[in-house]
Amino acid sequence: MEYVIIGNGIAGVSAAESIRPIDREGRITMIGDETFPPYCRPMISMVLEGAVGSDRLPIRGADFYERLDIRPLLGARVSEIDVDGKTVITEKGEAVSFDRLLIASGADPRPIKAEGLDLKNIFFMRTEAHVRGMERALPDVRRALVLGGGLVGFKAAYGLMCRGIEVTLLIRSGHPLSMQADAAAGKMILEKLTGRGLDVRTGLAVTAFSGKGRVRQAHLTDGSELPCDLAVIGKGVLPSRSFIPRDHIDLDLGVLVDDYLETNVSGIFAAGDVAETTDIARRSRWVNAIWPEAEAQGRIAGMNMAGQKIRYGGSLSRNVIRIFDTDILTAGIVTPESDAVYTAIQSKDPLYGTYRKMVFREDRLVGAVLVNRIEQGGVLTALIRSQMPITIEKERLLDPLFNVKMLMKQ
């Protein structure tokens, strides 16, 4: 059996690790753009922050490929999949044939349209190489501009602030992390950040960057100028799918997969940030580009590629964000669109700095926001996942003393 895995991020790595114990003979080839050993992508922001060195990034030993008897093709980008010929072709023209293929190419930063993007010190923040570039630039940086208040933009801003750099964050909506947090939690985050000196501007975009060789100013849509000697573009990510033939493989925003993480083409699977799965809370297709889902999808896809039939229960958006002394945990639907379908309850305790919100669809929990005292977040997440009817008073879930026992039959 010839297994080919495109991408050596956590989805690809987990897939390889679950194929190998089931099929000891099959040949596994991993094609990956990045040459760094398998690493913890979310941790790159901690490298920027200065909390850890990049030597702490790898999550598997240098012997990973050897230990699992994997043929690595690193520093190679797949440019084409020949579905009928069961072959993938790299940019360098190398052809690798497969019986089972996993597309685990992750996501790429969403590009922006602006002039002067070729200037030095304008970065995306997706790979360890990006952060290495930023680290090299840091000694000469006094003022930085971060575009986008999503998870990455926010983490970039936080990391730069920790380095003592003056940061301006440009965001479209009224508060950062509008995809992750509801308005109330978003406002609490915003207050924390501005309280520590972050300059936040909303409703503005960059039209151009200028400078001699390296960036010096950003020109904004309201005609104003902002001095900056480093800029980070954090306007979200898009599934990395340019090499996927849409006339053969069904695509929406991501690669569409069934409950077994297989695409419409038998033998071709997808997992991780590139895959579009069924979202448990939303009950619709969704790209949940988060680490734990990439890990689970890779693991399950790998088992299915090796001939087992393991069902993937669907994905759930969730995140924990820790800034200064505040923790924010969110899961599922946090800002319901319709009052007819969803009911939300919330509580706030200014003394402890806590805020909690639960979103229900009928008697099922579909979303939760916890600001501080987040320890029971896993119980709530499990409730959203299982879609178990909530038979106790819903307000109980808002109680900081809520625990799993309260859900058990007496």
């Binding site: 913890c40 979310p42 941790m43 901690m46 909390a51 850890v52 702490r56 999550i59 598997r60 680490w291 734990p292 890990e295 689970a296 693991r299 969730r318 995140n319 924990v320 820790r322 923790d327 945990l329 899961a331 987040i374 320890e375 029971q376 977040g377 896993g378 119980v379 997440t381 499990a382 106790i392 109980r396 003393l401 625990n403 799993v404 026992k405 309260m406 058990m408 007496q410």
Partner: protein, 200 residues
Amino acid sequence: MKQIMIHPERCVGCMQCMAACAAAHSRSGHLFAATLESPLPKPRIHVGSGLWEEGFPNRCRHCDPAPCLFACLPGAIFRDEKTNTVRVDPDRCINCASCAMACPFGVIRYHAVPFRGGKKVVAVKCDNCIERQGRGEIPACVEVCKSGALTFEESGEAMKRKTDAVSRSVSAGAEGTELPEGFSLLRAIKKARLQLQERR
């Protein structure tokens, strides 16, 4: 292999297990000295209360497969196969709380531990008192539990004891279950008190 078993129906909510656990994971290992330490030792077993304020000792189940282990971003959570214990490597842990979202029992906490100067905040959970077991001692929470809510035994034996108790309780002329009456009485009192409060 012996494991810690929880029998919540016997928990009276005295929280002695919490104090013993914190002391067992302190620098000194002794309760009184532990109260003076920095970082202040904290328990890894958490006595909460159910809907009727019944005691509920909650600790890591060392699940297999373990959701926290899969969700861990830096790969700091691992299984110690010999003792079947899910452990956190404080050196690798980045305090991201990804495991907080994964644990369906809500038993992971985040604070400093006596590790490298005791400044680093990390994920902390029950480690089955591996160190104590290495010295031939039983887990601290079990040692201190007076009501039998925590036992340390082979899981097969515990299962058999429970099955026997059930079969005794359904056979003719049986003396009832092995649970002494005091436990159900305590429970009934707590419940009645809450119900009275509600009615008021």
